[in-house]
Subunit: 344 residues, 2 copies
């Protein structure tokens, strides 16, 4: 089985975006009705996109969350963010119920700049306990490119970590859109946030406080694998333990790197048990690479093309590591029928 641990509902029916615009036009109106979206609209939005790509590329299950760039934690206020998160997560839940063999849910959190992350516990519990979601996306910069909240290693974040540990769910570290003109969202802000989070973890004792807390750093870990020597050296200069001991029990990288040389580097320097297959489709880069004739984000092809990767290692990247990190996946049965899915 091939699990893609990083997919967003980027193709949701346009009613969702229209709802969001109405909401932001009246951020204090708590009576706004949720968008009216039919099951057939959901089916159509997926059949021609994510499901089509799953079939074409030979992947099975996508760990699926609301569109990251639309989380927009910097827009509106804390109650806007909660309403918007609930609407988005409800929709992911419907996707997972319609296609229980193809999608597993991960939730957006109702973060808001300057508001304690403890504020997100209710929605995380709802999504995990009521919907059977297996993780969350945690935004290290709810300000959208101004980085005004404390680092992820600050006690400010500890209440949400306590709940994550209790529920046994990991977080993918994932920013949303940038409202800072310096940072292109998918070309700079996303990658910078990945690099930033890793260095925060490197300089802290967070995982002494939470030995079972788990984070997935997406987009191949930002700049980290390319600069793995720099990070090993910085840890040493700073009298930190070696990276394996310091954080590789808790920090994992996905494979959203859109060319073969990048994937080769990732698989060469990062231990195989820390790498989770992902494509981020339909996501940041939509086109076909003229050098290969295939989609840039068809990352399975790159992994299949890496020389000397054993079948056992492939299975770990494609399935085993995701089941270990998203531990609520264990015991789930896919590929039989919709009734086979545990209601949790």
């Amino acid at each position: 089985m091939i699990i893609d641990c990083h997919g967003h509902y980027t193709t949701a029916p346009r009613e969702l975006e229209a709802y969001r615009q109405r909401q932001l036009a009246n951020p204090d109106d708590a009576t706004l009705a949720p968008p009216n979206i039919a099951d057939d609209q959901i089916r159509e939005s997926l059949e021609k996109a994510q499901l089509k790509f799953q079939r074409e590329r030979g992947t099975d299950v996508t760990i699926f969350s609301p569109r990251a760039s639309a989380m927009g934690h910097h827009q509106g206020n804390a109650s806007t963010s909660l309403q918007w998160s609930r609407v988005c997560n409800d929709l992911i839940h419907r996707v997972c119920n319609l296609y229980p063999d193809n999608f597993v849910g991960v939730c957006q959190l109702p973060q808001s700049p300057g508001v304690p992350p403890a504020n997100c516990i209710g929605e995380l519990e709802r999504c995990v306990k009521e919907f059977g979601f297996v993780g969350c996306n945690l935004n290290p910069d709810p300000s959208g490119g101004h980085w005004t909240d404390p680092p992820l290693t600050d006690r400010w974040w500890y209440p949400i970590y306590e709940k994550m540990v209790e529920l046994e769910v990991p977080a993918m570290v994932h920013v949303s859109a940038s409202c800072n003109a310096n940072f292109h969202a998918t070309g700079a802000h996303y990658i910078n946030a990945d690099t930033t989070a890793f260095m925060q973890f490197l300089t802290s004792d967070l995982f002494k406080d939470f030995p079972t807390l788990k984070f997935v750093i997406p987009h191949g870990g930002g700049a980290v694998p390319y600069h793995w020597g720099r990070y090993r050296g910085l840890a040493q200069d700073l009298k930190r333990p070696p990276l394996g001991e310091l954080l590789l029990h808790n920090v994992f990288f996905d494979t959203c790197v859109y060319h073969l040389p990048g994937i080769e580097l990732l698989l060469k320097v990062i231990p195989i048990e820390n790498i989770l297959f992902a494509s981020e489709m339909v996501g940041a880069v939509k086109g076909i690479d003229p050098e290969t004739g295939y989609n840039f984000d068809d990352t399975k092809r790159y992994i299949d093309a890496v020389p000397r990767l054993s079948e056992q290692d492939k299975r770990r990247i494609f399935e085993g590591n995701s089941k270990r990190v998203y531990s609520r996946l264990q015991g789930r049965i896919f590929g039989q029928s919709s009734s086979a899915r545990s209601a949790d």
Copy 2:
């Protein structure tokens, strides 16, 4: 000849830092005397560090600038920044006069957040025309991690670009220290700035306006080579020209990547003519890699170890590309005597 295009005077005598502390304690005092540093102190600070490493590693000339993390553009005000830049650049000039075979100067600019970069023209001209410096370091975020000024592609920056073009000097895109707790300076802020600048260039027509403007993106180009497929794909999605046409006549990467797999990736995906040898010594990572037994920042070893790199390509990386980008190096004669150095 081997030219290291990225070295900072990180080992300056302590009088320099003491001066800076006095200055910041009274930022409006324009009468502060410059630090009193003897030639022998300068010699001692270099003989046991940069010069020792040049000899040990077999490199010849370092393109040398003030300590980047100490530029501190976010501290004090515009006039503090000007005084501090003059003091730092004067010291680099003395280094270059004491060791004209070993060092060539690049200047710090007196940037200050919210102050137009046109403000830096005088100091750039002084350093190039009076001192014979061959380039400058340009800070894309003078706020020190808050990114409050416009992107590098905004017309805000055009006056300094006009002067760079007129003087035929490139800029290395280099931030200073971070005063944002989210960003570790050398582990996150530096690398993020590199990635950010590249994406700013990718989304703009800056090089149509300045066809001969040249930037070196240090630290191996941040995350860019590792995500080269992503950037090729983003350019295509955004209907931009291919990267080679769009920016590779103007944007160059150094080799400050501290492990062999990273250097191999860099040399595989970036055209050889866009890669400039550099080590950033004595800089971000000071220790010895236990996996190799050599300093992490001894980047010449990695390049020498890359299989199938022709002697011609090595010469371009080690010398030819730097002479092309830092075009004022052309015609300079090194390795004879101090009098051989052109006074420019």
